[in-house]
């Protein structure tokens, strides 16, 4: 296993998760090959690389989304701390994993419910019934998602009536309401206009000290702006991982350099 050292510019923090020799298969097609990586606690880690290189596939291993479909296979480990447990192990319940590692998708996917109920959803499925607790947590989550001021007077409205950017922030609030330890973002701004994108990026920067974040993006400027660490993937392999500054200023690998300088991808 290769060992990565965070650069001096990034703050040295605890490891939240360590990926060891991860392989992933869609049926017989191997989409991820021998991936080793570290996810640092309360830092933003960006996954970049050309389309189809396996970024989403990798991200979705972290909350076992692949378990939802047949013929998907994991090999290797994703160790989650402080439990020191391999979340890919057969003994681990994917639902327990998703209780702690939540996800925000490419396209905003609010539920056909009110704004309030969208955010309260995760709490309700965990059995929270007390109105006062729900209200407090929903407000907190909406504040953390920078949406509270815009929606506080219409919490009963259908979530579909919000704009795309607001819907995406609502989905972030929904994920935040249950205090996840890791938040996974899969190209969260690719369906949004530049202004909404800027607000989501700002939000991610604000969240970095509250929660560990993994974000997939095909936008390198975005990776440079929001992340502390960057992983460059190519054809199912992790080519280079390190502090974002290092990766963008002096990448060690020629492939990374070509991608970042825009020679392909």
């Amino acid at each position: 296993m290769q060992i990565f050292k965070p650069s001096s510019t990034a703050t040295l923090t605890a490891q939240k998760s360590v990926v060891n020799n991860l392989n992933f298969y869609y049926g017989s097609y191997q989409a991820l090959k021998n991936i080793d990586m570290v996810v640092y606690e309360k830092q933003v880690t960006a996954l970049i690389g050309p389309s189809g290189c396996g970024k989403s596939t990798f991200l979705r291993c972290f909350n076992r989304m692949h378990d939802l479909y047949p013929h998907n296979n994991y090999e290797g480990e994703i160790i989650l701390y402080p439990d020191n447990e391999n979340i890919l192990s057969r003994e681990v319940d994917p639902i327990e994993v998703r209780m702690r590692i939540s996800m925000v998708f490419q396209k905003p996917n609010p539920f056909p419910k009110s704004i309030f109920e969208n955010v309260a959803y995760g709490l309700r499925i965990r059995g929270v019934k007390r109105r006062s607790i729900l209200e407090e947590k929903v407000e907190n989550a909406l504040r953390n998602a920078a949406l509270w001021e815009e929606v506080k007077d219409r919490l009963g409205d259908l979530a579909f009536n919000l704009s795309g950017g607001q819907q995406q922030r609502l989905c972030i609030a929904r994920a935040l309401a249950t205090d996840p330890e890791i938040l996974l973002f899969d190209e969260p701004t690719s369906a949004l206009d530049p202004i909404a994108t800027a607000s989501i990026e700002e939000l991610i920067s604000d969240l970095r000290n509250k929660v560990t974040i993994l974000i997939v993006t095909h936008n390198m400027q975005q990776a440079a702006r929001v992340s502390d660490y960057t992983a460059y993937m190519y054809m199912g392999e992790l080519i280079e991982f390190g502090a974002t500054d290092t990766i963008f200023i002096k990448p060690k690998n020629k492939k990374t350099e070509d991608y970042i300088t825009g020679r392909f991808g």
Binding site: R98, S102, P112, P180
Partner: protein
């Protein structure tokens, strides 16, 4: 690539040939749509105009309040209530079976069943839907009624209960297949949003997928209700064809549809008051189903789905 010189100077004008083709297709589509609307209105017109003859003899008040329906007796009474009660009770029994079971089957097939199970179960359910209703009728009379009688010894040989139960079984495939289609049309990314915060399959099905497909589910239920209200054969065979104003499913009774069949198969002369009753009964049935359809329409509008 064609240069401007090689193109005919009229290349931007309307193409006569294309126009003609488009127009004739449009016309054909219009005719098809018009024809079905026309038939519907023709039926409604027929029912209303024939009912007028009936209502010249019998007041609407009597029709709606008299508790007996004996148009063919010497002491004729023209109260629709006994037929309505038979229709409502048998339909309710059927729906108590069909809606929950249909929904549960749909949830299972759409959200839980592995691909192979679904592939086997779907054609099987469709097969159930294709069995002629007369077979269901005799199934009720010769199998379900005796079976029920071992549990409920006082159950008569003809009953709304037995007919309703079998009607319910008969309607399950309609409800389940339409409900399942509605649920499966919910995009996967909506489900993933639910799974991603730790929801189980069941929570996702009930709290996300069902609300998201509510209009389709409502349509399935309305179809189930319409089928129950309009069903003829099963009740005609297993429920006894006696117009009784009863609300107890353990009694024999007639429904609107069985009465219509009974009279139209008899030899009453057209124009006689006895014969005209079937139009009044038919109009009542139409209004009954119309109410359900409007309700369904309102429900659909209220819970219009947007993903």
């Amino acid at each position: 690539m064609a240069t401007p010189e090689t193109r005919s100077p009229k290349s931007l004008r309307h193409s006569y040939k294309r126009n003609l083709k488009e127009r004739s297709i449009e016309m054909l589509l219009f005719l098809a749509a018009f024809f079905s609307v026309f038939i519907t209105f023709a039926i409604i017109y027929l029912l209303i105009s024939e009912s007028f003859i009936f209502f010249e003899h019998v007041s609407i008040w009597e029709f709606l309040t008299d508790t007996q329906w004996t148009p063919l007796f010497d002491d004729a009474h023209y109260g629709i209530l006994p037929l309505v009660s038979g229709t409502v009770v048998s339909s309710l029994v059927a729906l108590v079976i069909a809606l929950p079971f249909g929904t549960i089957i749909a949830i299972y097939l759409s959200e839980f069943a592995p691909f192979a199970v679904r592939e086997i179960a779907k054609p099987f359910l469709e097969l159930l839907g294709g069995i002629p209703t007369v077979v269901y009728g005799y199934f009720a009379l010769l199998f379900v009624t005796p079976l029920l009688q071992t549990l409920l010894p006082e159950l008569p040989g003809f009953s709304l209960l037995s007919a309703g139960l079998v009607m319910g079984i008969m309607i399950i495939p309609y409800v389940s297949s339409m409900t399942e289609d509605a649920m499966r049309s919910v995009p996967m990314h909506l489900r993933e949003g639910s799974y991603a915060i730790g929801a189980t399959r069941f929570q996702t099905a009930v709290k996300v997928v069902m609300p998201a497909s509510l209009s389709g589910i409502a349509a399935a239920y309305i179809l189930g209700i319409s089928r129950a209200v309009g069903e003829t054969m099963v009740v005609a065979i297993a429920a006894g064809m006696q117009p009784n104003l009863v609300w107890n499913p353990m009694e024999p009774a007639a429904t609107i549809t069985t009465y219509i069949v009974q009279v139209s198969l008899g030899d009453l002369p057209h124009g006689s008051i006895g014969y005209q009753t079937i139009f009044a009964a038919g109009l009542t049935l139409l209004l009954l189903t119309l109410v359900f359809n409007i309700l369904g329409h309102l429900l659909r509008k209220r819970y219009r789905e947007i993903y």
